[in-house]
Assembly symmetry: C2
Homo-oligomer: 403 residues x 2
């Protein structure tokens, strides 16, 4: 039951970025489970990958290929994460790249592999290999929504957004898709995002833009604090359109649009989180640094006690206060701490306000979406983090036997 | 439903440590809710307190009094944590100390207050004050079990253990009680432990023994990663018995017995954790330091995905591996990682063993108690951490409205 998340309407095509999707019978209960993104020659690509030191085979290979050549194709399969599969897993991922390269007439190093799904099982190569030439047959610029579906595992809604940025010299278009719903379900390895723009962006600048935007999007969400072995967010600039770089006046607008698009994609994952009944924004200000604000926000976002209170709609400010108090922040003083739920002020200077009425706070927490404002009263920095609640369904989904 | 935890049988009296308990009508559904521990003159006392920077009023006062005088009495109430109560809360805690001091003929600074229960409500002083003279009337050395009951909040079983240490010069006795069951339930502030020995121990040595033992006991358990505002573990040496200090040959045996007693008290809290259906030991070795081993153990112990798999009895080693991989440890290599469940080896060198049979691992995880062995293969240090699973009942208990 995704929280206020609907299937995307039209996703804007990106000139120079073509998708194909097929059903290779990897994923239960069926539907397309392989997708291929083909980029025009001259495209630049930036990527950020899981920080889990046990990165899956495709992540290892994608990193290696990005360092060696200019990517021309991204191959994604769902239903199997090719994680915990050792040397055989790396060999299989490399075979996938070679098959794509053969079909497209590019080098194997120009193909980046991505996998999401069950951990610890070898890729079903006998089904994957024959599917690859089919994928390479007729990729099309209007294939974004089908690709968003093909990369889903336990997602209940395909996730995709488009943005147009009007710059002095013309218009730049961005479209992205993402998948993920909790970090690993029974043993799924989870978060992937693919974004393309028709802008022409130098590789180093594209990388800088992605890293800036990812901090305020995919690195600002949490469902359960677990980090998958397969997480990746990729940004491709096809070069079909106008030039944008960090020295041009439109750069800030471009990065801003990218950040908003990626925040939409990231929040869509939280909205579709396992068992989620609420979408919660944690907004921390008055910190001495962004890192400090993020540390406080994540400590609250990861607190099972806060998350179960959110599920219950219980305005249990003691739990928020206790989580703030154990955040890894030096010399935090309770007298500076303010807490509000949406526009209902609850705690001021570390103590419940005299005018606090629990019924008002309970009304806020009964909403499907609300914001917890936390003021630390010691500086000018802030951060925003998005999370979901902890429900019976989270336990049910994650306690189910693998099937 | 506590996991393999029964009410204590006889708890050994400690000469020079006398308990009284009364029902002051603070706690629902009734039963004793105040306890007083009176120590003979000359006793030494050591304490460790919550690291939550928003320490509750009694914690603030107990720390202050310990720095100022030699404690003669410890006053505990359950049903109300006197946390998040600001200056009024501190004033109330001080009044409690003064009433005890008046009744016993000691100084107020010689009384340490402790509270556990609901956060954010003022102490019901009109019921507490008249109860104090009743407590002071007839404390007795056989009052340990009644005190273990009086300090309970949502605990389902009173927790207490005794140990005798045979030294060359004679016998030392240790008895302790603890309470806690998850960190805050609806909004309970939780963990307390009171231990006494009849040994005569210099204050500095007693403090050192407590700090050493607490790392391998109360600092090695986790239910949900939340730290209460009221946690305290107190160790009293009454001085009625033989002298023990760090220069005597019996010191290691004394500290060892203390560590075992405190581990029993700590594990009893995990066994009685909210919604727990399993008691899980995480044993990490092959680390380069104890801190590193603890970081890995706690990362797994806090993983909601591991905890829900444990609830389901699902030997989902991918979740253990993924949690190890995101532990805050530098340069961890997957090829060194071994994982076993009790005596069933699952992962060797980061990959599933060829002889691994899931049915054998599933049998281990169906047990009420099992050990996850994690080898890092890079050093000689190790650590043990105890935790519980994440069940529907954990969510139910913590999502219930406060009542």
């Amino acid at each position: 039951m995704a929280v206020n998340l609907r299937e995307p309407g039209a996703l804007a095509p990106i000139a120079g970025a073509r998708w194909a999707s097929v059903d290779a019978a990897i994923k239960k209960p069926g539907g397309d489970d392989m997708a291929l993104l083909v980029l025009d020659e001259g495209a630049t690509v930036a990527g950020v990958f899981t920080r889990n030191v046990f990165a899956a085979a495709p992540v290892v290979l994608a990193r290696r290929h990005m360092a060696a050549a200019s990517p021309r194709a991204l191959l994604i399969n769902s239903g199997n994460a090719n994680a915990g599969t050792g040397r055989q897993g790396e060999a299989d991922a490399l075979v996938c790249c070679r098959r794509v390269a053969d079909s497209l007439g590019v080098a194997a190093e120009q193909v980046l592999p991505f996998s999401t799904g069950v951990i610890g099982q070898m890729l079903p190569m006998s089904r994957i290999e024959p599917a690859i030439p089919r994928l390479a047959e007729a990729p099309a610029e209007d294939g974004w929504l089908a690709a968003a579906r093909a990369i889903m595992t336990t997602d209940t809604v395909p996730k995709g957004f488009s943005r147009r940025v009007e710059l002095d010299e013309g218009t730049v278009t961005l479209t992205g898709i993402s998948k993920g719903s909790g970090m690993i379900r029974p043993d799924m390895a989870t978060m992937l995002a693919f974004i393309a723009t028709d802008a022409t962006v130098p590789a180093a600048d594209l990388d800088a833009a992605l890293r800036e935007a990812v901090n305020a999007s995919f690195n600002s969400i949490t469902v359960d604090g677990d980090t998958s072995t397969n997480d990746a967010a990729m940004l491709c600039a096809t070069g079909a359109g106008m030039a944008v770089d960090r020295h041009k006046p439109g750069w800030a607008a471009f990065v801003g649009a990218l950040r908003e698009l990626m925040a939409d994609l990231a929040c869509a994952i939280v909205r579709d989180a396992e068992g989620a009944t609420r979408f919660i924004t944690l907004s921390v200000d008055g910190a001495t640094s962004v890192d400090e604000a993020r540390a406080v926000a994540f400590t609250v976002a990861h607190s099972p006690l806060f998350k179960t209170a959110a599920f219950a709609g219980d305005p249990n400010w003691g739990r928020i206060l206790a989580a703030v108090g154990r955040a890894p922040v030096a010399d935090l003083a309770i007298d500076g701490v303010d807490i509000a739920l949406d526009d209902v002020a609850i705690v001021a200077g570390g103590q419940p306000r005299a005018d606090y009425r629990e019924a008002e706070a309970a009304e806020v927490m009964s909403r499907a979406e609300f914001t917890v404002h936390i003021g630390l009263g010691r500086g000018d920095a802030g951060a925003t983090v998005w999370t979901s609640d902890l429900s019976y369904d989270y336990v049910r989904i994650n306690a189910e036997y693998r099937s």
